[in-house]
Amino acid sequence: MSKVLPLHPVTPARGQPLASRSDDELMLLARTGVAAALATLVERYTSRLTNYCAKLLGSAALAGEVCQETWLRVWKLRAAYRAEGKFVVLLYTTAHNLCRNHARDTRRREHWMPVAPADDAVERVADERPDHLDALVAREQQRELHRRLGALSEPMREALVLRFQEELSYEDMAAILGASESTIRSRVHHGLKQLRHDLARRDDR
């Protein structure tokens, strides 16, 4: 048996199960051939990452493809990975670039669609129980929000999702989006105001 330590002396984490280990440690372990370490990382981030891609692209199916491609690229970059506590920046930068490529290549922005699933047979049944009606209203509100989110500019949409879904710092967001922190802070604030304004205008109609 062996014990893994950082190359240079930082706080070592010994004897922890994989699920408790940091992203950096898992990447280091994945590089040394511990397959379960990569699986732990994939499980840790795939739900968030796919949601991020889906909200950017407006397509759950496309988000799944981009998410797969993102992990593949991260895996191929493992040898060059520097354990500096910035795995999330690598992951989201890769996903962000792939999403942008998809959006540009196929002009998907014009075809942006809300990603909530389509109505199914259950909903078409005239079920008027209050809890069911509440659920339908909430879902319609969510769908409308994503419709409005899709109508925002791409930089605003990216900034809002990274900030409020991923809860990333402005420093990490600047590294991912390739813009200054002040620019991204402005995108978040203006995006939120724009969304609130658009939704209020719809409610007034």
Binding site: M1, L5, L7, L38, T46, K193
Partner: protein, 283 residues
């Protein structure tokens, strides 16, 4: 709303954790007194929560399994042929190839300098003759250096060096062959003949990790973590590096008797392998 009410920008800054301490305190003091601002604050908070909410059915249940399968499939594919690489990379490869003769000599020199025992022991131990072609001439293509970890400099370890039970071990390598053409194991054997794994990491008894695939690296490249040995017995400590053309599993080494862990025996057992040993003393 009155003239003393915070602006929408103020409310957003508070929600976003970006308001200064003083301004945040002022806004929080104002909110209980102003229904209009409370309503505005609540609507912004609801909007933030909606943005954060995961989408229904995203991702589907099989997403993680599909990703891992795809990575596994790609990992087992042979390295892409040079023509598939972008032109910029093709030029880099061509330049690398032109330099490879000189680099091979340099790498071989590193390996020979580090060899701890009679070089004669290593000259004809199952490796293919040099004329049989470069792909399997590991001793010419791969150089491995075991280093003392835990500091900024990571100095190489050499025969006769003293170590303690707290010493950590880092490993670097050069591989003039293509990525995936060579696989590395590094382990220590203490005076009680117990094997301590350095690479691959062997963290869970139920696992059976395989050798570390070596990327093409014309310059010395560090493996990403330093390793500590668990309770090594004091006395002589051998650190063995084993480079093979195919991946090995930890269990294949663990199954060997103490005598079979000698470099010459390992080289005879694993065809084409290149084996080296550093003799240390553990206090």
């Amino acid at each position: 709303m009155s003239s003393t009410c915070p602006s929408t920008d103020d409310l957003i800054a508070l929600l976003d954790g970006e308001a200064t301490e003083n301004r945040a305190a002022e806004i929080r003091a104002h909110l209980p007194r102003c229904a209009s601002c409370r309503e505005a604050q609540a609507s912004l908070a609801a909007l933030r929560a909606a943005l954060a909410a995961p989408l229904s059915g995203v991702p589907d249940d099989d997403a993680v399994a599909r990703i891992l399968q795809r990575i596994e499939a790609e990992s087992s594919d042979p390295a892409p042929a040079a023509p598939a690489a972008p032109a910029r990379h093709r030029r880099a490869l061509a330049r690398g190839a032109a330099l490879s003769g000189a680099l091979a000599v340099a790498a071989a020199a590193v390996l020979l300098l580090r060899r701890p025992v009679d070089p004669g022991e290593f000259t004809a131990r199952g490796g293919r003759p040099e004329s049989s072609g470069a792909p399997h001439a590991l001793h010419r293509e791969v150089g491995v250096t075991v280093r003392r970890g835990g500091g900024e400099r990571l100095p190489p370890l050499a025969d006769g060096d003293s170590v303690t039970g707290e010493t950590t071990y880092a490993v670097s390598y050069r591989n003039l062959g293509p990525s995936g053409s060579a696989f590395l194991m590094v382990f220590a054997v203490d005076s009680a003949r117990v094997v301590h794994w350095i690479h691959p990491a062997y963290l869970e008894a139920a696992s059976d990790p395989t050798s570390v695939p070596l990327d093409h690296a014309a310059d010395d490249k560090l493996l990403p973590a330093a390793m500590a040995l668990e309770g090594p017995a004091p006395g002589d400590l051998s650190v063995v590096t084993l480079v093979t053309v195919r991946p090995l599993e930890v269990s294949q080494i663990e199954a060997l008797g103490a005598g079979d862990l000698e470099p010459a025996r390992l080289a005879a057992r694993f065809a084409g392998a290149d084996v080296s040993r550093i003799a240390l003393h553990l206090h």
